[in-house]
Symmetry: C2
Subunit: 438 residues, 2 copies
């Protein structure tokens, strides 16, 4: 089979930005524009007689896939990277491999997990959810009783406040998108609106917050303003169509769309309405890093607008010059993504990416843009806007506001959090991709 | 814990249809309407001191969830039902348990599968897709080369032409929704538009059809009109964010949104452009049942508008009188679902269900409606409309057009296909649900 190259075959199309970025609409539906652009056969090879010979796996019958289907053995390397895999008595993190996925949400086996004392092995028939405190009528729910309530389904991302923390490093890192941004995932959650249950219990006028508590062994708990609880908070029981994964709170969790992951309390067993926050360790210390001026970054719950490129990214080798699609993920706690701009020259020039429809609020939005790599150096970046008008800050802006991890260490030894600046990938002439600051 | 009952607590709300159906908007956002409706605590129980005692699983640390997370052991009964589980040399079917799922698509482990000779164990690095026949330039693609093309993601249902075939039975069946309708599922598929590849190859004017062929051992192949190939056909490589499941065509399949499942050729290895259909066994015989007038139901590809109720349904016991949510699934090859009507009295009166947003074309739409079960007999039905103006026929209408399986057997012994009439569930006074004709 012969292989053709056509580095300059985009010449008939108008560039949208420097260094090979093309108009996002050029190839939307495929068609002649793309055929013209790649000059007929840039990426494919010509067919010959050998191409139509049977492969070995076509020679005999295959194997049934079982009552609950497992993925192909050839996908075994698509996994979460884990800290503390043996479950020693400290936190454990599992990071989503965004560079090996596509589409607009995260499959359940690969959703990120942080657990502080390991996911408990809960019998769903024995589990109870209590609502008490400043309510007119304290209530307790079984999973079966919750299943009778009006339900809703929605896509929503969940992101750890510490996701992207390596980006506070003063020097770029030998790290891929999974290591840098693997503590965010998105899924369709189905369950009962928390407002339904709170209205049934009856809210006392003095109630301003709630304390949500899990049934993990350290009873992780966080304070949530009542306004969020009555807005879009959900008691989620299903994740992507089936019951929650153990690491994501089986059999029920609190979902606070767009808010700091740690507050989306898993293995939820208790909601107590109170008149002030509990000042739990997570809100008073863990997720309250010290800012350069000496104040704490406390009670800031939103995971603000952010984006990163997943393809190409470190670990994905560009095998040849020519056409590639640049794609990535954008999301915001403030609603829908309204625009993503992409640069191939380290931020000198920008072109608007296509957003995969439907664009949903507080959920992953996949962006895509055509790119012709000429074999020279390139630095790829993305920058997202949301419908509330927010935009990702530059790295220098956010570092000025919060400090870098090594220069301004948190008093508790934790790095800073809530990084939502851009991520830069440098493509070198051999097609390797690495993390840089640009 | 005391339990409260409030059978008549819906009295403050206006009924939308007879036998307990309420307005779909009544409880959309929870709030006071629902609290009023259920009289304070119909479904929940009151809290006492015992409610806040630790459960045994809270007493010690849990177990990390692993690099690719598995679901809870308490979910082991949520499985596909399988014919021919040992893979004897005939077809094998795995049916989706819709009554145990919620949300708007099917998780990968539970997507239905029909395979004629078992899923092959394909090495994705060795697999090739050829496009040849009436093209200007025959082409061959690796998975890696396809990954460089412009990609799209979309939700789409896939349904076997034989799904719901038991509904042709002249007598109702002792069967649940999985047995009756388990050969349809929905997922987000990501891949390359087939039109992109065909335009690159260059279509000869004489080409009117294509033959798509799989690399399974019997090389399953189907003819597809070129108009569909250039409309919304996709070479799908990702299913719900990760690579395709083995049973769904790993590493690539043809996706023809809304069209007969068998045509969505899995393990796709070859697309040949031709000037007339191949008359393969599946189009000439298997999916060409004989109609009452003696003609064959052939080359009819659309899976037309359909809906069924998943909750309540057989196997889900109604444990008590009072509030339940009725929910189910609707879909159509002709675009978006525009309306679903639900009856609780066997089709005498109807109320409009709420459609879970976003409503997407050729994908599952979850519908929901509030229902107060007074403990008396009820027959639940749904009926869907699509944006093209089609509506599910009544059972008598479709039986008149196609015949019942036992009275008009297909010459090949197959039952009739493409049933899209309504499904009726009878609730008896003990809360058991069974299939009836009504």
């Amino acid at each position: 089979m012969s292989k053709h190259s056509s580095i300059d075959s985009f010449r008939d199309l108008r560039p949208a930005a420097a260094n090979g970025l093309y108009d996002r609409r050029a190839f939307l539906k495929g068609g002649t524009a793309f055929a013209t652009a790649i000059g007929g056969y840039t990426l494919s090879e010509t067919l010959n007689a050998q191409s139509l010979v049977d492969d070995p796996w076509s020679a005999s019958a295959g194997t049934p896939t079982g009552p609950y289907e497992a993925r192909s053995r050839f996908e075994n390397s698509v996994v979460r990277t884990m800290t503390n895999p043996n479950g020693e008595p400290r936190s454990q993190q599992s990071r989503t491999p965004h560079h090996m996925l596509d589409g607009t949400f995260t499959p359940n086996g690969l959703h990120f997990v942080i657990s502080r004392s390991g996911p408990p092995d809960i019998d769903p028939d024995q589990h109870r959810l209590a609502i008490h405190g400043l309510v007119k009528q304290p209530l307790i729910f079984t999973l079966d009783s919750l299943m009778r309530y009006p339900m809703v389904s929605r896509m929503a991302f969940v992101e750890c406040g510490g996701n992207s923390a390596p980006m506070w490093s003063p020097e770029p890192l030998d790290a891929n998108v999974q290591a840098l941004h693997g503590l965010v995932s998105s899924a369709e959650w189905s369950g009962v609106m928390l407002s339904t249950l709170l209205e049934e219990a009856g809210i006392e006028p003095s109630a301003k917050w709630l304390i949500a508590e899990g049934s993990d062994s350290l009873a992780l708990h966080r304070s949530v303003p009542l306004s969020k609880a009555l807005d879009d908070a959900m008691i989620a029981m299903y994740q992507n169509g089936e019951r929650l994964m153990p690491g994501n709170g089986y059999p029920m969790r609190l979902l606070l769309p767009g808010w700091e992951g740690n507050m989306n309390v898993k293995w939820l067993r208790r909601i107590e309405l109170v008149d002030q926050p509990a000042m739990s360790i997570y809100e008073a210390r863990t997720y309250a890093p010290i800012l350069p001026g000496g104040k704490a970054y406390q009670f800031y719950f939103l995971q603000e607008v952010k984006s990163f490129i997943t393809h190409p990214s470190p670990g994905l080798l560009l095998s040849d010059h020519g056409f590639y699609e640049i794609s990535g993920i954008a999301y915001s706690a403030n609603g829908r993504i309204s625009k993503v701009m992409v640069s191939a020259d380290g931020g000198e020039s920008w072109a608007e990416a296509e957003l995969q429809a439907p664009v949903l609020p507080k959920a992953f939005t996949r962006f895509r843009i055509p790119w012709q790599w000429d074999g020279g150096p390139a630095v790829l970046q993305s920058r997202a806007w949301d419908e509330a008008g927010y935009v990702q800050p530059t790295r220098s802006e956010i570092v000025a506001a919060r400090g870098e991890a090594s220069r301004v260490p948190n008093v508790n030894g934790f790095p800073s959090q809530h990084y939502n600046g851009p991520t830069s990938w440098q493509v070198n002439q051999t097609g390797e991709v690495k993390h840089v600051y640009a």
